[in-house]
Subunit: 282 residues, 4 copies
C-alpha cells in the first residue's frame, strides 16, 4: 500500500481543508502529514497532504477532481517516493554533480539521473559516473548557443527528464529555454542572493569585504538570478579568506543548498507562489 | 472577531482531520494554520489548528467536545494572542529575566509577568523592573527549602500564574514542587543536554575541550535535567575561551533559547509526548 | 600590572614581528595574544598584540615609536580593558540600546555610555535608562537637519565620546557628519548587505522571498550602506513569515550583531583596511 | 621558494616569540601567518608560524634547534602544502570516504590516499575508487580482532601512512592499536560529544527528543569517545525526524566535520594539549 502526496493551490475560501480531508477519509485514507499556507497578501491557499489509502485510487481521484473544480484548484497527486527522471547540466566543477549522484546511489534522493550535459569534455570532470548514465558533451559559443540549446531540448525530450538541474552550469540559458523549462529547472547560484548577482560572486564578496558568504538555489526564469528562491545557506568568512578560499568554502555550501532544493522539489514540497515559493519542509 | 487555537492529542485513527475541519467549517470557520504529527512509535496523534470563527463559540465547543469524546482526545481551545500570567524565578543573573520582560514590554511576548522570585535580594539583579511587578526575595537553605517552596506555591496560587519560568534560578526544585508544576514550568539549562548535566556545565565543557557550547530549555520534571526538551541552540567556542568566556557567550544562547521556548509555550505550539515534545513552529 | 594592547598597520616588510616582539621582550614583557594579517592584494600588514609588561611603559613607548618610524606604522597602544566613552543614537526601537546598556552594566562591555540621543521623545523608548545617563531629545526634519547634527557634534565633544553607535537610528547622517565621525561611528543595518540596501529591508526581503534574513554592522561612511563591514549574521525565514515576523526575528539578529561589532571595536580588534576591515577575533 | 610551517609547544616564558621571529628574520624570512596560545591553566605555550624563506633551510633548522633546546620545545618544521600519506578505514557507509577522496582529487586536501581498509567487501561501498588506491578487505570478529589489527598495522607500515582516518569505521580499536596510532588517528563520532557516546547515537538522540543532532571528530585514544576533540558541528532536528531521518541529516554533518578535522591536521593547525586540542584556524 502506497503513500500518496497531494499538492494543491487555489484561491482561499473556507471549507477547503474539510472538503479534502473528508474525501480522503471516505475511502478510509489516513493522513500522515499535512501542511497548509494562506497567503494573506494574494489570497491564495496552498496545501500538501501525505496520506495512506487502501481503496480504489480511481474513485478518490474522481472525487478530488470534483473538489478541484469547485475550488478552482491546481493540483497534483503522486505516489510518495516515486523516482523521477533528472537531467543534470554542469561545466567543469563536479562537486554538486558528484553529491547529487551519491545521494541517489544510496537511496537518499528519489532521482534517476538520465543524463549529464556539459559544455566541457568528460575528462574535465573530477567525478566518476556510473556507466549507465549518458554523458553529452555540448560545447557552446555565442554563435552556436541556439543550436546547442536545441540539443539540450532534444535530450530533455528523449530522456523524459522531469527536472533539469543546473549544477554549476556556467552558461546563461536563453529566455526561450528558461521559459520552456519553467518550474522544472533548478539552478544553484554561488552567492546569497540578492547580493552579488551575475559573474564571479565570490570575487565580488571578497572586494566588498563581507563576513559571510552563501549560496542560493532557485527556479530558473528568463530574469537572471531573479527566479523563485527555494533554499539558501551561508558560512562565516574572514578578512584572511582569499577569493580562492571563498570558492573552496563555497563548494560545501553550494552542494548542500542544491541538494536541499532538489530533494524538496522531488518530494513535492515546493509550490510556486508567483515569483516566490512556498516550502513545506518536514 | 478572534482567531482561536485548538490543540489536541489522541490515539491515531483515520478521520480525525476530516472530523475536526468539518466541525470548524460548519460554523463558517476559516482555518489559518494547521499542523499535525503522527508518532509511529507510540501511535499518538497531535494537532494544532488556528482558525477564525464568526459564529457562536459555544456551539463549536459543544461539537468539538463530541469529537473529543469519540476520538478520546485531550484538547484545549484558546483565543489566539491571549496574554497569560507568568511567574519568573531567578537567582543573581538577570540576562534571561531582562530579555523576557523586554519582549513582553514591546508586545512580542503575550506574557503578563505577575511576579519575580529570587533567592537573592533585589539589589543583586542588574535589571530594572517595572514598578507594577512584585519582587519576592525568598532566600533558601537546605533547612528552609520546604518552607521556601511553600511560599513559591502560595505566590503561584495568589498570582494566578499559568506558567513558571526558571530564568537561571540556580536551585533544584524538590520532586514535589516539580510534580506540582508539571507541564507548566520551563527551565533553561546552560549546556547542550544531555552533555554536561548538573552544576557548572561551562566549566565541564572547558575541561572536556568541546568546540561548541549550548543551552537547553525544557519542562521541569522530578528527574533533574531529564525533562522534555523544547528548544536548544549552540555557538562555536575555541581553545582560547576560558570558562568565563563561555559564561559570557552562553548568556546570549540562554536568553535566545529560553525566549523561544516561552514564546512557543505561550502560543500553544508545544505538545507533550511522554518525555519528549512535539513543537509546531510557524 | 596591566595588560596592554598594541595595534599597528604598515606596508609589509620582513622583520616586523621580530622587531616588535623583541622590543616587548627587552622590557621583560610577556606576549599573551598575537595576531597578524598580510594583505597580499594591497601589501599592507596588520598586527594586534596583547602583552603584560612589568617595566616602564614610557621606555617601551619610545622604542616602539622608533620601530613605527622605521616601518612607517600607524599604531596605537592602550591598556587592555580600558572603559571608553560611547554615545548611542536611537529612534524609537530600543532593543539594541537596551542590550548594549545591559552588557555594560554587568561588565561584559567596557563601555561608559555618556549619553543617549533620540529624534523621538524619551517616552517612546521601551527601556529603562540608568539615571546618570543623559537623554537628549533632538527631533529632526529636513529643514532642521543641519542644526540638529550640530547639536550631535556638540554632545560628542562635550561628553568626550570616543565612539558613536547608531543603534537603530533611522536617520541618514549627512556626508559631513559621516566624515567627521569616520572610523568611530558604528551602524547596524537590518539586512545582510549588500542585499536590501536603503529603507525597509525586511519588506524588501519579504517581497523577494528570500529564505534567510540578516543584519550587518559597519562603520558609517558618506556612502550609504557601503561602509566597512565589521559583523554580519543571519537566521532562517520562511514563506509563512510576514514582514512583521521578520522585523521581530530581525531584532534578535540586530542586537547580537551590533553587540559583537561594538565589543570588537572597544577591544581594538577591528583595523581598517581601506573600505574593508581586518578583525582579530579571540 | 616554499612556504614553511613551524609548530611548537613549550612551557610559557617571556621572549619566545621574539626568539623565533628573530631567527626567521635573520635569514630574511617573511612571516605570512602566526598564531599563538598561552594556556593559563597549564602554563603551556603553543605556536604556529607560516613563513617564506629564501635562504638555506639547514642553517635555519640549526638555529631553531638551539631555541628549541633553550625553551624545551617540542617542534616540527614542514613545507607548507606537502602532500601526506593517509590510510582510510571504513565499514559500509561511504559518504565520508567519498567526500575525502573528492577533496583530494580536486586539490583541496593535501592528501595522498595510500589505501582503503574495510571490514566489509568492496562491493558494499557505494563509491568509486581511483584504480591506484589499494582496497583491503579485512573482515573482523571478536576471535580475529588481534590478527586483523596486526594486518592494519602492517598496511600502515608498508604504505607509509602518516595519518589514519576512521571514516565511519564501526569497529572499536583495541587499546594497543589506539596507543600505537596516538596523535595520528582521527575518528568521526556521529553525535555531539559528550552526549550520546557509544553505539547508535542517532537512536539515542531520537529517544531523548533532542532538538539538534551533531557530529564530533577527535583523535582516537584508548578511552572510547574521550579523545581530544578537533571539530564539532550540529543541525536542527524535530519531533518529526525518525532515527532514519537523523542518520540522513547526520551524513552531511559527519562528512563536513571530518573533512574539517583532516584538513586542519594536514595543515598542521592542530596541536595536542593534554586531552584537549589547540586549533589555529585560518
Amino acid at each position: 500500500m502506497h503513500d500518496w502526496i497531494l499538492t494543491l493551490t487555489c484561491p482561499n475560501r473556507h471549507g477547503i481543508v474539510a472538503a479534502i480531508s473528508s474525501r480522503i477519509a471516505e475511502g478510509n485514507g489516513d493522513i500522515k502529514e499535512a501542511a497548509q499556507f494562506d497567503d494573506d497578501q494574494t489570497g491564495q491557499f496552498f496545501m500538501r497532504v501525505v496520506f495512506r489509502h487502501p481503496a480504489d485510487m480511481g474513485l478518490l481521484r474522481q472525487s478530488l477532481a470534483q473538489e478541484a473544480q469547485r475550488f478552482s484548484m491546481q493540483w497534483a497527486l503522486r505516489p510518495s517516493g516515486q523516482v523521477r527522471k533528472v537531467l543534470i547540466l554542469v561545466s567543469r566543477e563536479a562537486h554538486c554533480l558528484g553529491d547529487l549522484l551519491y545521494r541517489a546511489r544510496i537511496g537518499e534522493l528519489a532521482m534517476n539521473c538520465v543524463g549529464v550535459v556539459s559544455n566541457h569534455p568528460r575528462s574535465s570532470l573530477a567525478v566518476m559516473l556510473d556507466e549507465h548514465i549518458p554523458f553529452h558533451h555540448l560545447p557552446v559559443t555565442a554563435a552556436t548557443k541556439n543550436s546547442q540549446e536545441d540539443q539540450i531540448r532534444e535530450i530533455v525530450a528523449a530522456s523524459g527528464a522531469e527536472l533539469v538541474v543546473l549544477a554549476r552550469y556556467m552558461q546563461i540559458l536563453s529566455n526561450e529555454l528558461a521559459r520552456d523549462l519553467q518550474g522544472r529547472c533548478i539552478n544553484i547560484h554561488h552567492s546569497f542572493l540578492p547580493g552579488f548577482k551575475g559573474a564571479k560572486p565570490y570575487h565580488q564578496a571578497y572586494e566588498r569585504g563581507v563576513k559571510m558568504i552563501g549560496a542560493t538555489s532557485h527556479y530558473v526564469t528568463a530574469d537572471l538570478d531573479e527566479g523563485p528562491i527555494i533554499a539558501q545557506d551561508v558560512e562565516y568568512t574572514s578578512h584572511a579568506d582569499t577569493p580562492e578560499d571563498m570558492v573552496r568554502k563555497g563548494r560545501d555550501i553550494e552542494r548542500r543548498v542544491l541538494a536541499r532544493a532538489v530533494t524538496w522539489h522531488l518530494q513535492d514540497r515546493v509550490l510556486l507562489n508567483g515569483h516566490k515559493t512556498v516550502i513545506f519542509h518536514k
